[in-house]
């Protein structure tokens, strides 16, 4: 019997060594993207396949390069704020915050407490919006079409709260150096609270629908394991880094705004696999909801913008300022030569580093795993390419 069924790998290897023509297989080069549902955006992954197993997978970026850094050099900071929100279009407000923090530090501007609170509220709502999007689309990539619809339902209320305040649904352009563009209108607090409560009620559904599901577990547990050391070396950040077990969150490590006044936890995964990353996302939504709730109930009265000169000229110098974007650490390195426009403004976007580690994770995975890996690496193509 043992000669009848040898272990397959030995058997195939022998056949290959013997040069058996009937068993000759070729490696296949396949382009996944730029027009592919799993890359949700114009990301291209060139994979070399042996059957369905990925031998080598390389992301090809640049299909969406819009030259943000060059454009920054031609604009003043009010204009830059509006440009920033277009990098990671799922978390526009979070993109704007570090840019204006950098200016505030350089100019030693004081931000009123009310503005800081509102910034935190809206940044966290934006984080929830972003996370909802990814929790939904991750299910979609694994073939479950329903979670994304529920996610959009929950997004709607929070989205309208943001729209009520800023007038925009994606590109908010609401942060200004020194505070906010304007104060929020009557009804914002109620609407945001309602949205948060609805989300808190709905989260158990997400947990049951996907995280408790045996098929989902089979598809994600142990798939796309990201080693914590590798993650650090690649500058991976955000939910992905925390999924790998490293509790690095700029909100705690280097508190900006007034995050140190709120009570929230940092969810940290243990295995660094797709499941843990998804788990971190869901938990972060809960924590963000907690922050928003605290901030809303505690919102102080005051002005929405500090004393800001009519014409912003940034004193000479350079600064590196960072913040915790929903997708990870977003920072700007700003060099100023004393004018209104920055001399050089480098945007360090989270998705760029996050996606550069992907080749390591794709090696040896199956094609369907690739979808789970890309889906759980949470990237926005505009954030990679800028």
């Amino acid at each position: 019997m043992s000669t009848l069924i040898p272990t397959t790998d030995r058997w195939l290897r022998e056949a290959r060594l013997a040069g058996d023509a009937t068993l000759r297989t070729e490696e296949m080069v396949l382009n996944i993207g730029p027009q592919h549902p799993a890359t949700h955006g114009v990301l291209r992954v060139v994979v070399t396949l042996d059957g369905e197993k990925i031998v080598e997978g390389t992301p090809v970026v640049g299909y969406m390069h819009r030259g943000h850094e060059k454009l920054f050099e031609q604009r003043d900071f009010r204009q830059i704020t509006n440009l920033c929100s277009r990098m990671d279009w799922l978390s526009g407000l979070n993109n704007e915050i570090p840019a204006s923090i950098a200016v505030e530090r350089l100019m030693e501007l004081e931000v009123p407490r009310r503005a800081t609170y509102l910034r935190v509220i809206m940044a966290e709502i934006n984080r929830i919006l972003n996370h909802l999007m990814f929790t939904g689309s991750f299910g979609l990539e694994l073939g479950a079409t329903t979670p994304v619809m529920y996610a959009f339902r929950e997004r709607e209320l929070l989205q309208s709260a943001m729209e009520l305040a800023t007038g925009g649904r994606l590109h908010f352009g609401f942060i200004r150096p020194g505070g906010l563009k304007e104060d929020v209108p009557r009804g914002f607090v109620d609407l945001a609270l309602r949205g948060i409560r609805q989300l808190q009620k709905a989260i158990p559904d997400y947990e049951d629908l996907l995280m408790g599901n045996e098929i989902f577990k089979a598809r994600t547990v142990g798939v796309g394991v990201l080693d914590p050391d590798l993650a650090l070396e690649y500058g991976v950040s955000g939910p992905i880094l925390r999924g790998s077990g490293i509790p690095y969150d700029v909100r705690k490590a280097e508190p900006y705004l007034n995050y140190d006044e709120f009570d929230f936890n940092i969810p940290v995964g243990t295995n660094g696999d797709s499941f843990d990353r998804y788990w971190v996302l869901i938990q972060e939504m809960k924590e963000s909801a907690k922050i928003v709730e605290q901030a809303l109930l505690d919102l102080p009265a005051g002005s929405h913008i500090g004393q800001v000169p009519k014409r912003l000229t940034i004193p000479k110098g350079a600064i590196w300022a960072k913040a915790e974007n929903p997708l990870g650490e977003l920072g700007y390195y700003i060099v100023s030569d004393g004018e209104a426009k920055p001399y050089r403004m480098k945007a360090r976007t989270p998705s760029f580093n996050n996606i550069s580690v992907v080749p390591h994770m794709l090696r040896g995975a199956y094609v369907p795993d690739m979808v789970a890996i890309l889906g759980s690496m949470f990237f926005v193509v505009g954030d990679i390419d800028r």
Binding site: R78, Q79, N82, R86, P112, R114, T146, R153, S160, E163, L164, A165, G167, H171, G173, G179, K181, D183, V184, P185, R186, F188, V189, D205, D208, L209, G212, N213, E214, I215, P228, D229, L232, G245, I246, P247, K252, A253, P255, D260, N265, P267, V268, T270, N271, D276, W279, V280, Q283, L296, L297, D298, L299, P300, A301, G302, S303, H304, I305, Q307
Partner: protein, 200 residues
């Protein structure tokens, strides 16, 4: 370099860093998750849908919603501020100076007269800086949620259309409790009072 639970506390002394870990999620027997999932979808099937049927009914737009930019022509002084501040250079203004008798009739004063005001919506990124910087309240956001044209060249709109859109401009809304407007410069008066919590 996974950080152990004990290390975590040492890392961030400023504030206790509490971490959650998925190890604490409960394990269930095979099949429970599958059945729970079915229960959720069934429950949703039996509850009413949350969507609105778009062309027939549409969700209300908030007053600040950025639909189109309307121009109140009589307020414009051709100061060019909007055109200068526009990050996309999408506003075109033309005008000329005209001498007019003022009411007193003492001497002729020069006025700026607006000849052309056009916005190229193909370039516009809806940032609203022009509305924000306009010192004479000549530009407003109007509500329109399905603005489109068939041809990109038709996206440049002249004064007539921009004036028409003034009818879409909603009345200004009230601010949230506790709002005090921009901080007042110390030179202009006493520091802004009442930064105490009012609650929301």
């Amino acid at each position: 370099m996974a950080v152990s639970e004990s290390q975590v506390d040492e890392l961030v002394p400023r504030q206790e860093l509490k971490t959650l870990s998925p190890g604490k999620t409960k394990r269930t027997t095979f099949g429970i998750g599958l059945i729970k999932g079915l229960g959720i979808t069934l429950r949703h099937m039996l509850t009413p849908a949350v969507t609105v049927q778009y062309p027939d009914e549409s969700a209300p737009l908030p007053p600040r919603s950025r639909g189109i930019i309307a121009l109140k022509e009589e307020n414009c002084t051709v100061c060019m501020l909007c055109a200068r501040e526009c990050p996309d250079w999408c506003i075109y203004i033309e005008g000329h100076k005209e001498a007019r008798e003022s009411v007193g009739g003492k001497r002729a004063k020069k006025f700026n007269v607006l000849d052309r005001f056009a916005i190229d919506y193909a370039l516009c990124m809806y940032c609203g800086i022009c509305v924000e910087v306009c010192p004479y309240d000549a530009l407003f956001w109007g509500q329109l949620d399905n603005y489109s044209e068939h041809d990109v060249t038709q996206l440049t709109h002249e004064m007539e259309q921009l004036n028409q859109w003034m009818y879409q401009v909603p009345p200004p809304e009230e601010l949230e409790i506790g709002a005090m407007g921009p901080a007042v410069k110390p030179a202009a008066g006493p520091p802004a009072a009442g930064v105490e919590k009012e609650g929301a």
